[in-house]
């Protein structure tokens, strides 16, 4: 019975994440459209895109590693979703914890690197090297944030963090207890989501969307799915660490949508930084903030 329940949860969590992720993609595109003074795509556009991409057919293949890379990327996220507790579904959150999650989130980028390296397109190679550099840039502040939060809550178990925040009310939310770390997290959120101004690795005008350059059909569909998970994951992690997570969907959903809406809005207002600027920026302000924040919480 327990095992069956877990299985259902494990199945349900990625599906839920996917659906919410679709809505987030839509929201992102609608936000962009609004700032750009236009109407934007119809409501079901994200799902149309994914179904269409999966229906594409080509005989061209870039080899087994390329395919595995994508599977790794999507799989990494699917696994990550099961580690993220959401209202009613804890999944593997008890067993994983924040550190496992942080590692899990590196898998997609590595998987992409594996796959893209195979397709021999220099744009892809440049893109993926940039992506890994960017990951390097934001991962250190990210680890600082995770570390700080774990220290504050006294646990790496995400489910426990939620319950701590839920029990003690808003005053115990991470955002109140460690505002500097929350700010750090907010600053690196666009980078985690791969959004402006930190989307150097996509950069259509420079390297023709970098890693995606040779992705077609199903692979591209995989990336679209991955994007849904990516947005969802970013939203949920931030909410879990700083906004008290959620017990009920009705309060949880607004929180995660609000969280992703902030970097999305910013994304349409700025050009992208150069790679070295990203590194400098990430290792300067968020790291500084993170370290101060850490010092504050650990004092």
């Amino acid at each position: 019975m327990h095992f069956l329940e877990l299985l259902v949860e494990l199945l349900l969590m990625p599906i839920l994440a996917f659906v919410i992720g679709l809505a987030m993609v839509l929201m992102m595109r609608r936000i962009g459209a609004r700032i750009q003074r236009r109407v934007g795509p119809p409501v079901l556009q994200p799902i149309y895109d994914i179904i269409k991409l999966y229906s594409k057919d080509t005989q061209i293949s870039h080899g087994l590693m390329h395919e595995i890379g994508i599977i790794m990327a999507v799989g990494g996220y699917i696994a990550a979703e099961t580690l993220l507790p959401v209202p009613g579904l804890d999944g593997l959150a008890d067993k994983g914890g924040a550190v496992t999650l942080a590692y899990m989130l590196m898998i997609p980028a590595l998987g992409m690197a594996l796959g893209v390296g195979q397709c021999a397109n220099p744009n892809g190679s440049i893109g993926i090297s940039r992506a890994l550099t960017a990951m390097l840039a934001y991962d250190i502040p990210f680890i600082l944030v995770i570390f700080g939060a774990s220290y504050v809550y006294g646990t790496t178990n995400l489910a426990e963090m939620i319950s701590i925040q839920q029990q003690q009310g808003v005053s115990s939310w991470g955002i109140v207890q460690m505002p500097l770390l929350a700010l750090t997290a907010l600053l690196i959120l666009p980078a985690i989501m791969g959004k402006h101004p930190f989307e150097i690795y996509v950069a259509p005008a420079e390297i023709a969307t970098g890693p995606m350059v040779e992705m077609s059909g199903k692979f591209m569909g995989g990336l679209f799915v991955m994007q849904c998970f990516q947005l969802y994951t970013a939203g949920v992690i931030f909410t879990t660490l700083f906004l008290g997570g959620g017990v009920y969907w009705i309060t949880f959903l607004p929180k995660i949508f609000l969280v992703v809406a902030i970097p999305m809005s910013v994304a349409y207002l700025f050009p992208r930084y150069r790679t070295e600027d990203v590194l400098r920026l990430m290792w300067k302000w968020p790291m500084l903030l993170g370290l101060i924040g850490l010092a504050v919480v650990m004092k």
């Binding site: 021999a120 989307e199 950069a203 390297i207 350059v213």
Partner: protein, 380 residues
């Protein structure tokens, strides 16, 4: 991507590799290509590859009647077609000794400045997009479209107005046109603060654009840089002021310069020119109603129009720089030779090749767009 990219794998493992930049590449303005040699992110050398838009204009023009070519010339530069028409018409008028009516002169100035506005709005958008910022592009193109609406009303065509004809313009403007143009200018004026805060004064953008593709004034003069790009190196030169044509002598406007010679300076020069164009158009709106009379001087039947033998070199200031037509007539009903000197033939080839060296891969597109290079002018 072009499959030629596969050649990358043939190269020995090293940090140096070649990359085809275009023609199917969003960082390329129009249909144009570059072959860059990179060391990591740094460009070691760049080689322009043009001809994707080559139509043999100059040959085509030798095979058509003088007047038939007015439909052909605007196609030489798609984003900014009016200077092409005007320059070609001016050349024929000079060869024939036609004196065009004053009203036509003012109407031409009006179109030229409208076209400059449209082209500059387009150029900003493109420049912004190369840095990854799409919102100004969306705005710019939408605002440009409002100018195209006015063009449509005036000339019957959105992009290719084909409104100028040797001897003047093809018809007078519709009633109330100037009022609507004035309203459009007011709107554009009201939009400028939006652009400023979002784009021109955006710290991240300034950081991206500063010192990118920088050249000194000496270099610019040596390389044959003209137009806004030359003014961005601090030299106040404008064909409109210094080699005046049409009614520009009677119009009050500033030749704006910037000191940097880089992408940021070029961008700021264009922004200032946007304002100057609005200023010129305001003067046109004020002055035009007082200029009465025909909009075209009598011209011979186009089917039987022999332009007297001779040659002329006419220049106008397009939004991209110095545009010139060298027209030779042997007294026949068709041009004997037309040579188009598009400003971009310098900017997109030599200047870009030189500026790219030592720059970063991510800046190539930005340099190209900041030079406002227009490939069809190169290819013709």
């Amino acid at each position: 991507m072009r499959p030629e990219n596969y050649e990358a794998i043939k190269q020995p493992p090293s940090n140096e590799f070649e990359l085809n930049f275009g023609p199917n590449h969003p960082g390329i303005e129009g249909n144009y290509a570059f072959r860059v040699k990179l060391n990591g992110d740094e460009v070691l050398s760049a080689r322009a590859d043009a001809g994707y838009l080559h139509r043999g204009f100059e040959k085509l023009m030798e095979g058509r009647l003088w007047i038939q070519n007015i439909a052909l010339v605007p196609r030489i530069c798609v984003p900014d077609p009016v200077p092409m028409e005007v320059c070609y018409s001016l050349a024929i008028e000079e060869l024939c000794g036609l004196e065009i009516p004053e009203r036509a002169q003012w109407l031409r100035v009006m179109q030229l400045e409208m076209s400059r506005l449209a082209a500059h709005l387009f150029a900003f958008g493109g420049h912004a997009a190369t840095t990854g910022m799409y919102t100004p592009m969306f705005w710019g193109v939408a605002d440009r479209d409002l100018i195209l609406d006015r063009f449509e009303e005036l000339t019957g065509g959105r992009v290719y107005s084909i409104y100028n004809i040797p001897g003047g313009v093809r018809r007078d403007m519709p009633d109330g046109f100037l009022d609507r143009l004035g309203a459009l200018l007011d709107y554009l004026d009201s939009r400028l603060p939006d652009y400023d805060s979002l784009f021109f004064r955006n710290q991240v953008f300034i950081r991206r654009a500063r010192d990118v593709g920088a050249m000194t004034q000496e270099q610019a003069l040596k390389w044959g840089v003209t137009g806004p790009n030359l003014r961005a190196t601090g030299l106040a030169f404008d064909v409109r002021r210094d080699d005046p044509y049409l009614a520009y002598e009677k119009i009050d406007f500033d030749v704006v310069t910037q000191p940097g010679g880089d992408a940021l300076s070029r961008n700021l020069v264009r922004r200032a020119e946007l304002k100057q164009s609005i200023r010129i158009l305001r003067q046109v709106i004020k002055h035009l109603p007082s200029v009465k009379g025909a909009v075209r001087c009598p011209i011979p039947n186009p089917l039987a129009w022999n332009v007297p033998a001779g040659e002329t070199y006419t220049r106008v200031e397009s939004s991209k720089g110095e545009l010139a037509y060298y027209v030779v007539s042997n007294g026949g009903d068709k041009p004997y030779r037309v040579h188009v000197r598009g400003p971009s033939s310098m900017h997109a080839v030599q200047v870009l090749e030189k500026l790219a060296v030592g720059s970063r891969l991510e800046d190539i597109a930005q340099i190209m767009f900041s030079l406002d290079a227009c490939p069809p002018e190169v290819d013709r």
